[in-house]
């Protein structure tokens, strides 16, 4: 490979000036949507339900230090999210606003891992990227205040990085669908679609198994290819039409909140402004390219390599489950942050027993004394939650009963995609002695087919 090739690529995808319109459009729509989303969250009463009612919160590994606030604190956090999202939308003190939004929204998501949703993670990632992008250089309050900020063109990487991020999301969502149950059993759509038979017209078809198959296959094909069809100038309009149809369908069928709207809005980034097309056709000699590429700036030396590493992480994180010997759908090791969206129908139950080795007295735990129904449901299928809860029980019984070294075991069963349940966690293992880590959890039993 010649250095000329690399320079061409570098120029094309990183440096070439392109119209700012897609980025500005993205900023306005993203900010507006986030603002509405947070308002909706408050209106639905979810602040109380998800953050004020629980007495215990499940943590993300490395983020155990994150604590919920009291009522006024939680509302303050939400008002920060709403306010900063509005500022992002308006392009007012943009850099400060987007950092505030990223920090407050991410903090909220870190409070209780029970509420993990792929699209909330996507919001965190997009907000993080937006911190580095000059999305306020047109159609913004900032430009009104600081006239010389205005720009009509931006380097192409500022748009391409968002395109790349969305491509990663779709592609991994598609790859995740290429599993045996999805492809050959139409699972879990075969469970979910019949639930929506009450829908007018469409609902009639959901009783048929072939419809579940058709939609499973179409969904997998869509996720795998849509980003590439959106990149291609000729297929782009039709592909975007499909984006709208697909996400409206998911919005209609499933209770997935903002996700469809985020995707419908975000994919507009694939539409370049007219000037981008012009620039693509700009013919530059290798000498010219090299000259431009050699222009050094703080951006090129620090930010771009940093974001490159970030994007590499975005590609490797969804693949990390290959490092675990277990089945990712079963053990959930490497499940999160990997765009495994609406992929499996799973239910389970976990019954904990705590024994005091000194007195040999033991007790079965009533989970609902400590967890909300929703937390209990999520806990019963996620091993790291089971372990966290066991440690919480250890703490509680030490505090209330003075039991120093309790032995905590769990009888847990999980059913996946229409099968009978199997024992999930080794029922003989003392959870109180285990520590969570990134290493494979040997205390998760293997799934038998």
């Amino acid at each position: 490979m010649t250095s000329g090739f690399l320079e061409k690529i570098g120029w094309r995808f990183i440096d070439s000036p392109v119209g700012i319109a897609p980025l500005v459009r993205f900023r306005i729509l993203f900010g507006g949507l986030m603002m509405l989303g947070a308002i909706r969250f408050i209106e639905e009463g979810w602040v109380e339900k998800l953050y004020l009612e629980p007495r215990y919160f499940f943590k993300f590994y490395w983020f155990e230090w994150v604590r919920p606030f009291d009522e006024s604190g939680m509302y303050l956090l939400f008002f920060t999210i709403i306010g900063s999202a509005a500022m992002v939308m308006l392009g007012f003190l943009y850099r400060i606003a987007i950092i505030m939004f990223f920090v407050s929204f991410t903090y909220l998501e870190l409070i209780d891992a029970t509420n993990y949703l792929n699209h909330h993670y996507l919001v965190c990632v997009l907000a993080f990227l937006l911190i580095f992008l000059p999305a306020n250089k047109s159609h913004s309050v900032d430009v009104l205040l600081w006239k010389n900020l205005k720009a009509t063109q931006v380097p192409s990487w500022t748009i391409n990085i968002l395109i790349l991020q969305l491509t990663i999301v779709y592609t991994f969502a598609g790859i995740a669908k290429l599993n045996y149950d999805w492809i050959f059993h139409a699972m879990p759509l075969a469970v979910w679609l019949p639930e929506r038979q009450d829908l007018p017209i469409l609902g009639y078809f959901f009783q048929f198994k072939w419809v579940a198959f058709l939609m499973s296959w179409a969904g997998a094909f869509y996720d795998l290819t849509i980003a590439y069809f959106l990149m291609n100038t000729r297929t782009r309009p039709f592909a975007y039409f499909l984006v709208i149809i697909f996400h409206l369908m998911t919005w209609l069928l499933f209770n997935i909140g903002l996700f469809p709207w985020i995707m419908i809005v975000s994919t507009l980034i694939f539409f370049p402004s007219k000037s981008l097309e012009n620039n693509f056709n700009e013919k530059l000699s290798t000498v010219q390219l090299t000259a431009r590429w050699k222009v050094r700036s703080i951006k090129k030396q620090v930010i771009i390599p940093f974001l490159l590493v970030f994007m590499l992480l975005q590609i490797t994180i969804p693949l990390r489950h290959f490092l675990y010997p277990s089945n990712v759908f079963w053990s959930e090791e490497g499940y999160r942050f990997s765009w495994r969206v609406m992929l499996v129908e799973k239910s389970g139950q976990a019954t904990f027993t705590l024994r005091d080795p000194e007195t040999n007295r033991q007790t079965e735990i009533i989970n609902s004394r400590y967890l909300t129904a929703f937390q209990e449901k999520q806990m019963s299928i996620q091993p790291d939650f089971i372990l966290q809860f066991a440690h919480y029980l250890e703490y509680e019984y030490r505090r209330t009963h003075g039991i120093e070294n309790p032995i905590i075991t769990v009888d847990s069963h999980v059913a996946i995609n229409g099968r009978v349940s199997q024992q999930f966690i080794d029922p003989t293992v003392n959870l109180a002695e285990l520590k969570d880590s990134f290493f494979p959890k040997k205390w998760i039993l293997e799934i038998k087919k």
């Binding site: 599993n179 795998l224 997935i256 735990i365 929703f374």
Partner: protein, 374 residues
């Protein structure tokens, strides 16, 4: 453009390589189509409606006997009232599993059977003539309150001693009026539930097919499971001490004063089995959840799931039936048999709460997601 195409081809090729975990599979999940209307019709006409009807007439009898007793408190009328109470409490066990629709509207389960009764609250109510029960979550009403008023109010199960409270006690009129109020509250709630079921709810229940939340199938399975778990925890678990570091709490049994806890528990367990089988009170076996399971051919541990569930019901019923009444005394004497019964009851939960909904491809909405999912 060429590089882009290459990228696409590489990505697509790569993705297909990742198709994994193929296996020569068992039966196709979610493939059967069972006749939901037939199930609902059988459950409504042969199980739910007769249960409410029986409960309703038992409660009306209870009301009559209460009026007789209050008018002329004698050992004879008290004894008749006690019998009517036991009969009504027993028939409640059959009706307790349908806490949706009309029953849910009036908070039937909490109004009728929050136990153990809060004695000091009841005594306070009597003293202060606080005879209204508009809060369903209190423990001063329903059958547990009657259990106390008819069997334990004088600190003795002795008929003559109990009678004195209603004949000689300085507060006798207040006791009578509280007794009346408790019974008429039960009567009102049961009447209302029964009326709604017979007048209109039955038809809409049968028509509500599908597997979504709020359909009759999910209501049956949820109601059945919820009741089973309450049974497990409150009737057997709590008093046996398994939930409290092996410190038995015998006074927390259902029907502590009348001492019919085991009979009630056996009745409840049998009702649970009959709902599963689709069997009416006379033992006629109609379409039930077992027939659905047979159709999907689900297997567990080398047996059909249906067989596993039926066997586990049999073991649980045997173990509970072996507990002599009064259960509180049995537990005080030795809690081990009650703990063993608890274990048998517990083994069933995974079968009916996780396995059955899973193989019937009903994503159980036992718990509603409070927020979005993805």
């Amino acid at each position: 453009m060429k590089n882009l195409k290459l990228l696409i081809i590489l990505l697509l090729g790569g993705t297909f390589l990742l198709v994994s975990c193929k296996d020569d599979d068992e039966q196709d999940p979610c493939s059967s189509n069972f006749d939901q209307v037939a199930l609902f019709t059988n459950v409504a006409d042969n199980i739910i409606l007769p249960s409410y009807e029986e409960l309703n007439s038992a409660v009306e009898n209870l009301s009559t006997k209460t009026q007789n007793f209050v008018a002329t408190p004698t050992e004879n009328t008290l004894s008749e009232l006690q019998d009517a109470f036991k009969e009504a409490y027993l028939s409640w066990q059959n009706a307790a599993q349908f806490e949706f629709g009309p029953a849910e509207d009036v908070f039937l389960r909490n109004s009728l059977n929050n136990f153990p009764a809060n004695i000091s609250q009841i005594e306070f109510n009597v003293e202060n003539e606080a005879n209204n029960f508009d809060q369903p979550d209190t423990y001063d009403q329903g059958f547990p309150a009657l259990d106390y008023l008819l069997f334990g109010v004088a600190g003795s199960i002795d008929l003559a001693v109990t009678l004195q409270v209603y004949t000689e006690n300085s507060n006798k009129e207040k006791y009578k009026s509280y007794l009346n109020a408790v019974v008429s509250n039960i009567e009102t709630k049961v009447n209302e539930t029964n009326d709604k079921w017979t007048s209109s709810y039955r038809n809409s229940f049968i028509a509500r097919t599908g597997t979504a939340a709020g359909t009759s199938l999910s209501q049956i399975i949820n109601g059945w499971n919820e009741n089973y778990e309450l049974f497990k925890r409150n009737k057997i678990g709590v008093p046996s001490g398994v939930l409290d570091l092996n410190f038995p709490l015998p006074t927390k049994v259902e029907a502590y004063y009348s001492g019919i806890s085991s009979s009630l528990a056996v009745a409840a367990l049998n009702a649970s089995l009959r709902l599963y089988l689709g069997m009416d009170g006379d033992g006629n076996n109609g379409i039930g959840l077992d027939d659905f399971l047979e159709e999907v051919d689900a297997e567990k541990n080398g047996k059909t799931l249906d067989a596993v569930i039926q066997e586990q019901f049999a073991s649980a019923i045997n173990a509970v039936a072996a507990l002599p009444d009064p259960l509180s005394a049995s537990i005080e004497n030795d809690e081990t048999p009650t703990v063993l019964a608890y274990n048998e009851i517990t083994k069933q939960v995974v079968n009916i709460k996780t396995d059955l909904p899973s193989v019937l491809c009903i994503s159980i909405t036992y718990v509603d997601n409070p927020s979005d999912s993805d």
